[in-house]
C-alpha cells in the first residue's frame, strides 16, 4: 500500500493532499473542489495504476461544510482510493464525474436528493429515492421534518 501511495504522491503532489493509508487496503486523500474533475480524469487514465471504477459516492454533512466522498477501485493493484472533496454549505456545488464513471450517476443523484449537493454537469440531476415534489434534503444535519415537506404523503 505504501508503494502505491508513494506513486500517487509522485504523480499528483499537492493535488491529492493528506494522502494516508487506512488499514488494510484503502488510500485516503483530499482533493480541492475545483480540481476534482481533472484529478479524477488523470486517476482513471494513470498507467499501470488506473482507477477505472467508481465504487460509490456519498455525501456527508459535517455542519461546518459538506463533503462528497468518492470510492475508487483499481483492478490492477486490487486497492481502494477514497477521495474527500470539501464543499462549502452556502454554495453546495461540485463537478460531476458522471462522464468518467457511469457508475457515479445514481450516487450523485442520491447525494443531491439526501444531502443537497448540486453536481454541475450531471446529465439528469433529479431526485432518486424521494418524491419529485419533496422539499428539503433530509440528511442535512439542520433538516427539520415538517408536514409541508411531503406534499402528497
Amino acid at each position: 500500500m505504501d508503494e502505491i501511495g508513494e506513486r500517487l504522491a509522485a504523480a499528483f503532489g499537492d493535488e491529492l493532499a493528506d494522502l494516508h493509508v487506512q488499514e488494510p487496503d484503502t488510500l485516503v486523500g483530499r482533493v480541492a473542489r475545483e480540481r476534482l474533475h481533472d484529478v479524477a480524469q488523470r486517476l482513471k487514465d494513470l498507467p499501470e495504476l488506473g482507477y477505472p471504477t467508481c465504487n460509490w459516492v456519498a455525501g456527508v454533512d459535517y455542519t461546518t461544510h459538506l463533503e462528497s466522498v468518492y470510492h475508487l477501485y483499481s483492478w490492477s493493484t486490487n486497492s481502494y482510493l477514497e477521495i474527500h472533496v470539501e464543499i462549502p454549505r452556502d454554495v453546495a456545488v461540485c463537478d460531476s464525474v458522471c462522464d468518467l464513471f457511469p457508475a457515479a450517476n445514481w450516487h450523485e443523484r442520491e447525494a443531491w436528493d439526501m444531502v443537497g449537493i448540486r453536481y454541475a454537469g450531471h446529465p439528469d440531476l433529479r431526485r432518486i429515492l424521494l418524491k419529485d415534489d419533496f422539499i428539503g434534503h433530509p440528511l442535512r444535519k439542520d433538516y427539520v421534518d415538517l408536514v409541508e415537506n411531503h406534499p402528497h404523503a
Binding site: D25, P52, N55, A58, N78, Y80, W106, I128, D132, P138
Partner: protein, 406 residues
C-alpha cells in the same frame, strides 16, 4: 412532430418527471435523426410499480417503438424507508435489526457487512467459533437467496417455471428451518452481534445441517434437469442482455452478474475477510455475460456454498460465540473516524460506510447496495431488445427492491 402516445397511469393523473423526461427524449431524438417525417409508432408505457416481473415495486418507464425498446427510465424509491436517516437516532446496537430489512432475501449477509464495519471502526475482533458460524449462516443464506433468484427467474420465462418456484421454495424451506433454529426468526434474523453472534448453535443442529446439505446437490441437479435442455428456455436466455467486461468496469457491477461476464471479482477471494482464506472453494465464472450465464453462475454458486458450509462444519472449533469483554454492546461508541467494508452478498458487493463522531450514534451511514448499482446499467442493456426479452433480462439481474430503495 406529434407527441408520443402515453399510456395512462392509474397511479397519478398528471405525467410525473420520469414520463416528461421520456417524452422529451423522444422529441429530441426525432428532431435530430434522419427519420423526420416518418410516422413512428412510439408508445410510452409504465411497467410497474406493481408488475409481477419486476420482483418488487420497481417502475420502468419504457419507450416502445412497436415491440422494440427504445429507451428505459427506471424509477425507484417506492420502498424507501429512510434507513440512512434512521441511523442518526439509533445506537450502533439498535441498528442491527434495521439492516436486516434492507436486502431482505439475504438478511444474514447484510447484518454481517454492517457488523464488520462497526468492528473495524471499534477495533473488535470476533471469536473464532463465531467467525465459522458467520460463514455457515452466510453461505446458507446465499443458497436460499439464489434459490429464490433462480426460481422466480425461470417462472418469469415460462409456465413451466412455476414448477421451478415450488421446487426452489421447497428446498429453501429446509434452509430457513435451519436458520430459524439458530436465530429464532425466519427472515429478519437479528443474529449478528459485535464480536460474535447472538446464540450458539443449538444441540443437534450440526447433524441436521449435514443432513440438509447431503440432500441439496441432488436438488440442484433437479433444477437443472427441469430447464437446461428446454429449447424455449435456452432460446430466451442465450445471447440476450449481454454485459461486457468493459461494462463491469464502467458500471461497477459486482456479484454473480459480473462473474457471468467472466470477471473474477469475488470479495471472498479478492479481499478475503473472516475465515474465507482457510476454505477451499472456486469462483464460478460465466463466459458471455448473457442471461443464461447469469442463471448458470447462480446454480454453480449454490454448489460451492454447499461445499463451504460442509468444510466449516468439519472445522468448527469449540469456544465462546461472543466476546466476554463486551459486556454492554449498546453503549458501544467507536472512536471518531470513518470506515468502509465491502462484503460479498448473494447479489454483489454490499458495503457499509460509517462516519463516527465518537458518540453512540453513527454520524453518517451509507449503504453501497449491489442491486442499486447493478440496476444502473438497465437502460443500456435493454435498449434495442424486444419487450419480452426485457422480462428475461430483468429476472436474470436478481434485484431486491428493499436494497435498492433502502
Amino acid at each position: 412532430m406529434p407527441e408520443p402516445l402515453v399510456e395512462p397511469s392509474i397511479f397519478s393523473e398528471a405525467p410525473d418527471e420520469a414520463i416528461r423526461l421520456a417524452i422529451r427524449r423522444v422529441m429530441d431524438e426525432q428532431s435530430v435523426s434522419d427519420l423526420e417525417g416518418l410516422e413512428l409508432d412510439t408508445v410510452i408505457v409504465n411497467m410497474g410499480p406493481q408488475h409481477p416481473s419486476t420482483h418488487g415495486v420497481l417502475r420502468l418507464v419504457v419507450t416502445l417503438d412497436g415491440e422494440l425498446i427504445r429507451d428505459v427510465i427506471p424509477v425507484i424509491g417506492y420502498l424507501h424507508r429512510c434507513k440512512e436517516k434512521l441511523a442518526e437516532k439509533r445506537t450502533y446496537y439498535q441498528y442491527i435489526p434495521i439492516v436486516d430489512r434492507t436486502e431482505y432475501l439475504a438478511s444474514m449477509n447484510c447484518e454481517w457487512g454492517y457488523v464488520m464495519t462497526v468492528e473495524k471502526l471499534a477495533g473488535i475482533r470476533p471469536t473464532r467459533r463465531a467467525e465459522f458460524i458467520r460463514v455457515i449462516v452466510g453461505e446458507l443464506m446465499r443458497i436460499a437467496s439464489h434459490q429464490v433468484a433462480v426460481g422466480t427467474f425461470v417462472a418469469d420465462l415460462s409456465p413451466l417455471g412455476t414448477a421451478m418456484v415450488f421446487y426452489a421454495f421447497r428446498d429453501r424451506e429446509k434452509i430457513l428451518d435451519l436458520l430459524e433454529a439458530v436465530s429464532g426468526a425466519r427472515m429478519m434474523f437479528n443474529y449478528f452481534r459485535f464480536g460474535g453472534v447472538r446464540f450458539d448453535l443449538p444441540d443437534g443442529w450440526v447433524e441436521k445441517c449435514r443432513h440438509v446439505l447431503a440432500d441439496l446437490p441432488q436438488r440442484i441437479d433437479e433444477y437443472e434437469n427441469l430447464v437446461n435442455d428446454n429449447a424455449i428456455f435456452l432460446q430466451r436466455c442465450i445471447g440476450k442482455g449481454v454485459i461486457t467486461q468493459q461494462d463491469v468496469v464502467d458500471y461497477a457491477i459486482t456479484g454473480p452478474n459480473a462473474r457471468a461476464s467472466g470477471v473474477a471479482t469475488d470479495l471472498r477471494r479478492t479481499r478475503p475477510y473472516s475465515v474465507y482464506p482457510e476454505l477451499d472453494f472456486d469462483i464460478c465464472l460465466g463466459e458471455h455475460g448473457d442471461v443464461y450465464d447469469r442463471y448458470k453462475v447462480r446454480i454453480d454458486e449454490m454448489r460451492q456454498s454447499v461445499k463451504i458450509v460442509s468444510q466449516c462444519l468439519d472445522m468448527l472449533p469449540k469456544g465462546p460465540v461472543q466476546l466476554g469483554t463486551l459486556r454492554a454492546p449498546y453503549t458501544l461508541a467507536p472512536p471518531p473516524g470513518s470506515a468502509y467494508v465491502g462484503q460479498e452478498n448473494p447479489r454483489g458487493e454490499y458495503g457499509t460506510y460509517i462516519v463516527s463522531d465518537g458518540s453512540r450514534y453513527p454520524y453518517r451511514l451509507k449503504f453501497r447496495d449491489p442491486c442499486f448499482i447493478n440496476l444502473q446499467i438497465f437502460p443500456k442493456v435493454l435498449r434495442g431488445v424486444k419487450i419480452a426479452d426485457a422480462i428475461a433480462i430483468s429476472g436474470s439481474f436478481d434485484m431486491v427492491l428493499g436494497g435498492i430503495d433502502r
